[in-house]
Amino acid sequence: MPQVKIVARNFMDMVASLPAMKLDKLYENSFICEAILRSLPPLAKKYVLQLLYIDGPVSAKWLEEWVLADGASKHRVAIDRLVQLRVLTETVERKKEATYLFNPTFQLNLQKHIVHGGVLPREPMPSNVTVRLPSLEELDTYAVQQWEFFLLHLINSAEVERSTNISSSMMKIFQRGLLSQKDDKEPPRLTESGFQFLLMDTNAQLWYIIREYITNCEEHGVDTADLISFLLELSFHVMGKAYNLNTLSDAQRTIIRDLVDLGLVKLQQGRKEGWFIPTKLATNLSISLADTTTRKQGFVVVETNFRMYAYSTSKLHCEILRLFARIEYQLPNLIVGAITKESLYKAFLNGITGEQIVSFLQQNAHPRVAERVPSVPENVTDQIRLWEADLNRVEMIPSHLYDEFPSREVFEATCDFAREYGGLLWENSKKMRLVAKGEIHTQMKEFLRKQKQ
């Protein structure tokens, strides 16, 4: 089955793909410079810091001398990344060799940032005004609630009680890759990528949504660079502190309203002013994907008799578990289900792989079983994989069979030709027969025609 993976591309990849002028405008914000510095591979960070106070172009040869011979590939990766982000610009003059010039805006801002420290454009409000400030736990629960609510809305609008403020056109954009609708009478069904999206962890999901939001904001009249710089700025705010709404521009205020629905900020109204409070989801925006320091608490216990107990009250969790297990009953704090062959077959037919199910169960294992090795019993994981293999017992490849070769040399030559293209599936030199993939048939025909002459 084709493996369609939703890769939540790094925020930085998206920044790197902006056109040159927008990127230069972004670098006027010193927080973005710091965020970019944080996201670089370690060697690139070192280069940036070493070149920070050097004015004028630096020859490529010098940079190469900083690395030992076996670090050449890492050096290349670092340099490519820096050129891609336009931190370094490469110029090759005719007789001399390549030189790199540090981006002046970036350089200036980073120097200022290092010397003066980062000063946010707004300060937290004094506590005598912000009386009903929520505690950090309340803020966390609020963020998780909003996010789950948004996800539920995303996958199944029929089941949700409250209505959301996100306009239906925005919802449609988010749903684009994840849901498909055969005709207008049937409710939209989740696609293969939709299922995989649900089983990803929260950070990866958040990025996918933010990425879609950014790529579509142009149509709403918000400039991509402004949006990215505002989001990055937001990620440097202190979680749990209130910031006055009147320090934001109008465009930023609309963005904040959308972010409330996603659970990134919380809005509160005082007597005269309103303020917003960034949550954990907002401050996680500038952290890279690989950083999984904030592991939320797991809730699933899987037993060796294939029964599953999920200590959760969330509807979203129930929906996700329903994807691959048979839910038997729901108690006030517990969802009881069983992993059966039929439920797994249903999941496999919908495009979920056994590996995704196993990793979902392992990542969300209840703390009671999480420290046990393995957190999900081996017989359950093995059986899931066996059932998956059972569905794929036969592999079929469209191909062509070539026989009646005039001579052994032609046969050998054709075999080698097919092997070079990676299309040789089977050969029998005694009977001089060859099976090759359908994709290279035209090239094979060309080759054989040339051989005849």
Binding site: D390, M396, P398, Y402, E404
Partner: protein
Amino acid sequence: MVNATKGLYISCDIPMAQFIINMNASLPQSQKFIFHVLDNTHLFVRPEVASMIKAAIATFREQNTYEKPS
């Protein structure tokens, strides 16, 4: 002159190969779909029969599944 036949290359385990060969043998001559049996785990068949083979394997699999009488 080299002859090229278009078809489907099937790669599976030995029991499945035997199952497909058996299915082929039970069909009347006009509907037989195997061009060649390449070896005991590979076959070369007509391209149209892919869905028919998949459906037959699915029924075979369901026949081997235990359903608890409710």
